[in-house]
C-alpha cells in the first residue's frame, strides 16, 4: 500500500511526470528550433521559465470569477496527473490499471481543454472569449476521431484497460499493424488536442493575441503551461502504449523503450508543427469531420470484423 502511494507520488507517477514533461518540452523546443535553423534554448529553459513565472505578480481581471480563475490551473494539472497513473511506464503494467481505465483516461484528458475554455470564458476579455470558443469548437471536432482512434485497438483486443491492451498486442505484435490508420488519426487528434500547429487557431497570436490565456499571469500561468506540457507527456505515453506495443519483458528495458517511443512520437509531432501553416477553424472542422472521423469509423468497423473473423 505504502509502496503504491510512493509509486504514484514519485516514480513512475507525479514527480516523474513533471520531470519528464520538462524534458519533453525542452526536446520539443530544441528540435523545433533546429528544424527552423535556429539555435534553440538551453536544457534548463523550461524549468527557468516555470520558476520565473512562479515569482511573478499575479493579476486577476476585475470582472473575472476569482475562485474559478485560481482553481482552473490546479484542476487541469490534477486531471492530467491522474490520467498518467493508468498509463504503463515501468514494465508492462500501469500503477493503477483496471478494466475501463482507457475511457477514464480519455475523459480525464478532456478536462484540461474544458479548463482552458473556462479560463478564457471567465476572463471576460474579447480575445480570451474568442480563444475559448475556438477551443471548444475545436474540441467538438477532434474529440470524436480521437475517441474512436483510441478505442479501435481496445475493440480488437477485447479489453478496455490500457495495461490489458498493451499485454494483448505485446503477445501478437503483428496485429498492431492493423491499427496503423488509427495511429495516425490519434497523432493528428493529439496535435489538435494540444493546440499545436496546424491546429493552433485557438491560441493564434497573430489573430487573437494568444487566446484563452491572455489574462493569465504569474503562477497560474505557470501551472496552466505545466498542465499543457504534462498533457503532452500523457498523450504521447498513451499513444505509445496503445499503438507501439514493443516490449522486452524486462522492466528497466521496457522503461528505456518507453522513453524512446515517447520521444520519437514527440519528434513526429514537432516535425508536423514545423512543416505546416496554421489552418483556419472552418478548414479544421472540415478536416476532422470529413477526413478523420470517417477514417476512424472505418478502422473501428474493420477491427470489429477482424475480431469476429479471427475468433479472438
Amino acid at each position: 500500500m505504502l509502496l503504491d502511494i510512493l509509486k504514484i507520488l514519485l516514480f513512475p507517477g507525479f514527480a516523474f511526470l513533471a520531470a519528464y514533461a520538462f524534458l519533453l518540452e525542452y526536446v520539443d523546443r530544441k528540435a523545433y528550433a533546429r528544424m527552423q535553423n535556429r539555435v534553440g534554448p538551453p536544457w534548463y529553459q523550461p524549468l527557468a521559465d516555470f520558476f520565473k513565472l512562479l515569482g511573478k505578480k499575479v493579476i486577476i481581471p476585475r470582472n473575472a470569477g476569482k475562485r474559478t480563475f485560481a482553481a482552473l490551473p490546479v484542476v487541469s494539472l490534477a486531471a492530467v496527473a491522474t490520467a498518467y497513473v493508468s498509463v504503463p511506464v515501468w514494465g508492462r503494467a500501469a500503477i493503477v490499471g483496471y478494466e475501463g481505465d482507457l475511457v477514464v483516461v480519455l475523459y480525464l484528458l478532456s478536462i484540461p481543454t474544458i479548463c482552458l475554455f473556462l479560463a478564457g470564458f471567465s476572463s471576460h476579455d474579447v480575445y480570451t472569449i474568442m480563444g475559448a470558443f475556438r477551443t471548444l469548437t475545436q474540441m467538438f471536432a477532434y474529440e470524436v476521431p480521437l475517441f474512436i482512434a483510441f478505442l479501435s485497438p481496445a475493440v480488437l483486443a477485447g479489453t478496455w484497460s490500457i495495461t490489458g491492451i498493451l499485454a494483448f498486442y505485446a503477445d501478437r505484435p503483428l496485429l498492431a499493424l492493423v491499427n496503423l490508420p488509427a495511429f495516425f488519426i490519434a497523432l493528428l487528434s493529439a496535435q489538435s488536442k494540444l493546440e499545436r500547429a496546424p491546429f493552433d487557431a485557438p491560441e493564434a497570436e497573430t489573430e487573437i493575441v494568444g487566446g484563452a490565456l491572455v489574462e493569465y499571469s504569474g503562477r497560474y500561468l505557470a501551472f496552466m503551461h505545466a498542465s499543457a506540457m504534462c498533457e503532452l507527456a500523457v498523450v504521447t505515453s498513451a499513444i505509445a502504449a496503445l499503438f507501439l506495443p514493443v516490449l522486452t519483458g524486462f522492466a528497466a528495458a521496457d522503461f528505456a523503450l518507453y522513453l524512446i517511443k515517447t520521444l520519437a512520437l514527440l519528434l513526429l509531432l514537432t516535425l508536423l508543427r514545423a512543416s505546416v501553416a496554421r489552418i483556419r477553424m472552418d478548414q479544421m472542422l472540415n478536416f476532422c469531420w470529413m477526413v478523420m472521423t470517417p477514417m476512424a469509423i472505418i478502422q473501428i468497423v474493420v477491427n470489429l470484423f477482424l475480431r469476429g473473423g479471427l475468433g479472438l
Binding site: R38, E205, T206, E207, G210, A274, A277, I279
Partner: protein, 408 residues
C-alpha cells in the same frame, strides 16, 4: 471590446502582435466572419514633409532616406531624380547601374521580409525563419555597398556616393546564385504546399475593376493582372537600357500576391546579374548645384511595394517650397475594408499583411475644409484639450510647467 446585437467588435490594434507599427482596425464579427472593418490610420504622423520644407535639399535627402525603414533607396531615388531633372543634371551611366543594383537588392530584401511576415501571420514560423535567414545575406551585401543594412545612403544628387569594387561584384554574384536556389524552392513550396495554398487562396480578393476603383498599386494590382510596374510602363534610369520582364498573375487574391512577389524576386536576381555583367566604367557622380532652379516636378519610381510618387516644388533657393511623398501603401489603404469584409477573422492579419503595409511612410495630416468645423488646433488649444481629457480621467496635469519652445 464591446458586444452589440450579439456581434463582437474585435479591436486589432493600435497595439497587436500581428501589427509591426501602430494602426487600428475595428473588426465587427458575425461568428468568425468579418462583417465590417474600419481602418483607422494616423498613429505615425511624423510631419516629415513639413520638415523637408525647412531644410536644404541636401539635408532633405537624409530625411527622405528615413521615410521608410525598408524601401529607403526607392524614396531617395525618386527625390534625387526630382532634383536632377530640375537642375538638368545628367547622371553617369555607372551611377544609374549602381542605383539599379541597390534598388533590386532592396526589392529582394523587402519581398523576403514580406514573405517571412506573411508566413508568420498564417502561423508558418518555419518559413518565416528560413526567409529571414536568406534575407540576411542580402542585407550583408547592402551593408557592404553602403555601410548600413537599411539606410544605405548610396544616392546623392547627380549620382551615387559609393562605387562597387570588383571583389564586391563577385561576392554579390555568389550571393545571387545561393539566393536563386532558395527562391526557386520557395516558389515550388508556394505551388504545392496544401496548407499554405488553403490559407492564401480565395481571400482578400481585389478584382481588376476594384483595383481601378481603389487605385491600388504594386503587387496588389499586378496580382489582378494589371501591369503597373513603373520600370516597364515608364522606364527610368538603368531600366531604359535593361528591359524588365513584368510579372502579373490572375488569382486576384493573397495567393496571387505571393506568387507575384516570389516571381519578382527571381526577376530581381536576373536583373542584378545583368547589371553586374554590363556595369559600365566611368565616374559615379557629377557635381550638383546647391540651389535648385524654380519649378515643380513629379517623379514616379517603382518601390518594392509599388509605385512611389514624389513631388517637389522649388522657388529657386536651396530649400524646397513643397515636398510631397506618396508612398505606395497610401494607395493600397483605400481597398482595405473592401478586402477584409466577408472573410474570416483568421484571414484578417494575412489580408492586411498582403498589401505589405508601411504605416509610418503613409501617415499625413489632412485638413478637411468642408467637413464642418475645423479639427486643426493651435498648440495652446491642444494642450488645454489634453489637460481636460486627463482631468476627466481623474488626473490633473495642469500643474506641470512646460519649457517654452520657439515656434515659427
Amino acid at each position: 471590446m464591446s458586444e452589440r446585437d450579439g456581434k463582437f467588435v474585435l479591436p486589432i490594434g493600435p497595439q497587436h502582435p500581428s501589427l509591426k507599427e501602430p494602426c487600428s482596425f475595428k473588426i465587427t464579427l458575425d461568428g468568425e466572419v468579418v462583417e465590417k472593418a474600419v481602418v483607422e490610420i494616423g498613429y505615425n504622423h511624423r510631419g516629415l514633409e513639413k520638415a523637408c520644407e525647412s531644410r536644404t535639399f541636401v539635408q532633405d535627402l537624409y530625411i527622405i532616406e528615413r521615410v521608410c525603414g525598408i524601401c529607403s533607396h526607392a524614396h531617395t531615388s525618386a527625390f534625387c531624380r526630382c532634383v536632377e531633372e530640375m537642375c538638368g543634371l545628367l547622371v553617369p551611366r555607372r551611377a544609374e547601374y549602381i542605383r539599379g543594383i541597390v534598388g533590386e537588392l532592396e526589392r529582394l530584401h523587402s519581398h523576403l521580409l514580406w514573405l517571412g511576415v506573411a508566413a508568420h501571420e498564417i502561423g508558418f514560423d518555419t518559413l518565416f525563419m528560413y526567409t529571414w535567414r536568406d534575407r540576411e545575406r542580402v542585407l550583408d551585401m547592402l551593408a557592404a555597398i553602403g555601410g548600413n543594412r537599411i539606410n544605405y545612403g548610396v544616392n546623392t544628387f547627380g549620382g551615387v556616393r559609393r562605387d562597387l569594387e570588383p571583389e564586391l561584384i563577385a561576392e554579390i554574384g555568389r550571393v545571387m546564385d545561393a539566393l536563386e536556389e532558395k527562391l526557386k524552392y520557395y516558389f515550388e513550396l508556394a505551388l504545392v504546399e496544401p496548407a499554405l495554398i488553403g490559407r492564401l487562396s480565395g481571400i482578400g480578393i481585389l478584382r481588376p475593376e476594384d483595383v481601378r476603383r481603389f487605385s491600388a498599386v504594386g503587387p496588389v494590382a499586378r496580382a489582378a493582372g494589371i501591369m503597373d510596374d513603373t520600370r516597364i510602363i515608364e522606364p527610368y534610369g538603368v531600366f531604359r537600357e535593361i528591359a524588365v520582364n513584368g510579372v502579373t498573375d490572375d488569382h486576384c487574391d493573397v495567393y496571387g500576391r505571393t506568387i507575384v512577389r516570389v516571381k519578382e524576386m527571381l526577376e530581381s536576381v536576373r536583373l542584378i546579374r545583368v547589371m553586374l555583367r554590363e556595369l559600365p566604367d566611368g565616374p559615379i557622380s557629377v557635381k550638383a548645384p546647391r540651389r535648385v532652379p524654380a519649378g515643380e516636378i513629379l517623379i514616379r519610381v517603382e518601390a518594392p511595394r509599388g509605385e512611389d510618387i514624389h513631388y517637389v516644388r522649388s522657388t529657386g533657393g536651396d530649400m524646397p517650397d513643397r515636398v510631397r511623398v506618396r508612398a505606395p501603401t497610401e494607395a493600397n489603404w483605400h481597398g482595405m475594408s473592401y478586402m477584409l469584409e466577408g472573410f474570416h477573422l483568421a484571414d484578417v492579419p494575412i489580408i492586411i499583411a498582403a498589401i505589405d503595409p508601411c504605416y509610418s511612410c503613409t501617415d499625413r495630416a489632412v485638413r478637411l475644409t468642408d467637413a464642418g468645423g475645423s479639427s486643426l488646433h493651435a498648440w495652446e488649444e491642444l494642450r488645454r484639450l489634453g489637460i481636460e481629457r486627463y482631468q476627466s480621467l481623474g488626473i490633473d496635469p495642469s500643474g506641470i510647467r512646460l519649457r517654452e519652445f520657439p515656434r515659427g
